[in-house]
């Protein structure tokens, strides 16, 4: 991160002393690399993504390394986590026949959730998914998975045919084909990725704005009142983000499950 926070941390930049508000922006999402190998720079979001993956792997490994019939301790938590994904995300879309996708959906959900949650954990304080480069690989995995499943279960022709519901007159088919193709191949994966990125990006920006503003307005003047207001808003956005982090992981995984369901079985 460059600029704004550094200016504030240096002290002295407050309202009424001639210092303009160091508004956060895109520069707060660009990190200086910890180290570089050739032209490749290893940055904080990369470290957080690796940490997130490790958290998920280690948690489930610890929970199920010696599973007991009557679960205790971490196994209890692990089972609750898996049952939550199964009952709230997988089964409503795929039913019991979709249980073979449970490991994939559990991994996807918790990986996204932990990456989002990095925004709210002190020291880390950055949602990995607010960098769209971390979102596209997950979108491509989901995209190629449901394409593969669609071709496998319905055949290439059948899969394309299933996109348009039966009973539509043939001239309408011709009109709908460009819309359907573009929706399916471009906008469905596009909206899946951009929504996650956009929500996390906006949330982090809001949190940064109100946090910086609280410090910037903190003076022994009327500014103190504004600072208190800004701080209250920062707390409010923080609480809101605790819900958004979970909700975005939930939406991404639920839509993944519904896309898989529509590939495995044609829509009616």
């Amino acid at each position: 991160m460059t600029g704004d926070v550094g200016v504030l941390a240096g002290g002295g930049c407050h309202i009424f002393n001639g210092c303009g508000f160091p508004a956060p922006g895109l520069q707060d999402f660009n990190w200086k690399p910890f180290f570089t190998i050739g032209s490749f720079g290893f940055t904080k979001p990369m470290l957080l993504a690796i940490l997130s993956a490790l958290v998920v792997i280690v948690f489930f490994w610890v929970a199920f390394r010696k599973p007991k019939l009557v679960p205790r301790g971490v196994q209890n938590l692990g089972e609750m986590a898996i049952l939550a994904v199964r009952d709230q995300i997988l089964r409503p879309s795929l039913g019991r026949r979709g249980d073979s996708y449970l490991p994939f959906l559990v991994s996807l959900f918790f990986f996204i959730y932990i990456m989002n949650l990095m925004e709210l954990i002190p020291v880390f304080q950055f949602p990995v998914t607010s960098r769209i480069g971390f979102v596209w690989p997950m979108v491509f995995i989901v995209y190629f998975l449901y394409l593969y499943l669609g071709f496998k279960h319905q055949g290439i022709f059948g899969y394309f045919k299933s996109m348009i519901p039966p009973g539509v007159p043939w001239p309408i088919y011709i009109i709908l084909v460009p819309v359907e193709l573009l929706r399916f191949f471009v906008f469905q994966p596009f909206t899946l990725g951009v929504r996650l990125f956009g929500n996390m990006f906006a949330g982090h920006l809001l949190l940064t704005i109100f946090t910086i503003a609280s410090w910037y307005l903190l003076t022994l003047s009327i500014g103190l009142l504004y600072a208190v207001g800004s701080f209250a808003l920062a707390i409010f956005v923080f609480v809101l983000e605790t819900l958004v982090t979970l909700l975005q992981a939930f939406i991404f995984t639920t839509l993944t499950a519904t896309y898989i369901a529509s590939s495995v079985e044609p829509a009616h």
Binding site: P92, S93, V179, V186, L255
Partner: protein, 96 residues
Amino acid sequence: MTDHGTGADTPAARAQKQAAAQGRAAGLETGWTVFSYLLAGMAAYGGIGWLIGRAVHVPLLFPLGMLLGLGISIGYIIHRFGRQQAVERAQDHGRR
């Protein structure tokens, strides 16, 4: 791992929760599909309009194509999801 969920859920309560979760998933899918249709309609026919407009030197065909695409998308959304809801309503009445 048990297959019975957590706590002392009755079968009726479990069925109700399952129905609520199914409704949530279906609602999410419908919402984002509708949004994708709106974008895709405008992009598809806007693109076609832009290509034809470029060929015949009529730039107005680009926005007209977008409007046409939006109209086609809205019509299709009403046809597809309006009919789907009507079928579901009829099935509900049939059950009663």
